[in-house]
Symmetry: C2
Subunit: 207 residues, 2 copies
């Protein structure tokens, strides 16, 4: 009590750093092997910490995974939230496609973590899918419907239009090894995808 400050529960810098190190290592491992397929040993190995030390910072393997998922969801929905009903329709949608592809390029592990969770039947995020996600998608689907009704974009089923953006952008992160195996060396998948998706959606959205 020398400094006279009552330390409620502030994380020290070293604690913050170690938590980050662990989460980063866990993201590596969970995104490749899924929850059940990952072990604390693997995470500890990647993090350069001992297994008991991991469990000093987090109460359980489950807790590390839960933390990653909840951090993920916000990041994941941000680009869609940014779709502005007052903006120019085609520009707004093309911007969304670009932001989503950038997420795949810059955060492929997060994309694969999410894909793993969905493949496994979304046991830990079903609630968020049916609540938060559905609400946001329904809202933006209405925007798309209005734009179509006004003849500003083609008349397409809005939910499936959104699915197509997810599918096409996330494919480059989730199936990265396949994309690279098929393209062979000397390609920049994301640069090529950017140009291709630009073309695809411009043609698709034209009324």
């Amino acid at each position: 009590m020398a400094n006279g400050k009552a330390a409620e529960r502030p994380l020290t810098r070293i604690q913050q750093k170690n938590r980050q190190t662990i989460l980063d290592a866990a993201l590596d491992v969970f995104s490749q092997n899924g929850f059940r397929g990952s072990t604390l040993d693997q995470i500890a190995e990647v993090a350069g910490l001992s297994k008991p030390n991991l469990l000093y910072y987090f109460p359980s393997k489950e807790a590390i995974h839960a933390e990653l998922l909840s951090l993920l969801l916000d990041t994941w929905l941000d680009p869609l939230r940014a779709l502005d009903p007052e903006g120019e329709p085609v520009t707004e949608i093309m911007d969304y496609v670009r932001r989503k592809l950038e997420l795949s390029r810059d955060f492929p592990r997060e994309s694969r973590l999410f894909a793993n969770e969905i493949l496994q039947g979304a046991p830990r995020i079903m609630e968020a899918l049916e609540g938060e996600l559905k609400a946001l998608v329904d809202e933006k689907a209405n925007t798309l419907r209005d734009w179509a009704a006004a003849g500003r974009i083609a008349d397409l089923p809005p939910h499936h239009l959104i699915f197509s953006i997810w599918a096409l952008t996330q494919h480059y992160a989730d199936f990265d090894v396949q994309v690279r195996a098929v393209l062979g060396p000397g390609h920049d998948p994301y640069a090529e995808a950017d140009a291709f998706l630009e073309t695809l959606f411009r043609k698709l959205l034209a009324p």
Copy 2:
């Protein structure tokens, strides 16, 4: 030797049936949890057999998984193989899209097994991706390029056109629970996808 026939190693009917039962149960389990996340206990439970009995029919967990993957690859490539360079371009491609979507609808577990394997870095099928798959895709990409050069379809990067077909059709199997959560009740995802993808690719392919 009473019957005088040297029994090389023909599988009896009951053996065939049990092998099938095991493979079917394993497909259930592996497609949801990936290889590492799945256990023989789970597979035995679903198959209605004892764990040692599983290992009477297959030498190891690894062997069951390997068998599933090798059965899968052929089925998976068949629709692309069927794309006929002599056919009418748009019809051929639309048929491919439809066949691929039907695979997702009728064999979602196979699609998820494949997705799991790729997400994990394709440790067991990388060779097939770089060999068989790449060769087939390169061949069909040439066909697409020829069609584009002849002005019979739009000029698009052929590999990415094929990726887009994979991404859009497999999404409905791999992300099934998300699709249903977002659409809510009262939808037929595959019927809607069929109509949407028909529209999408017709617009995209128009020269």
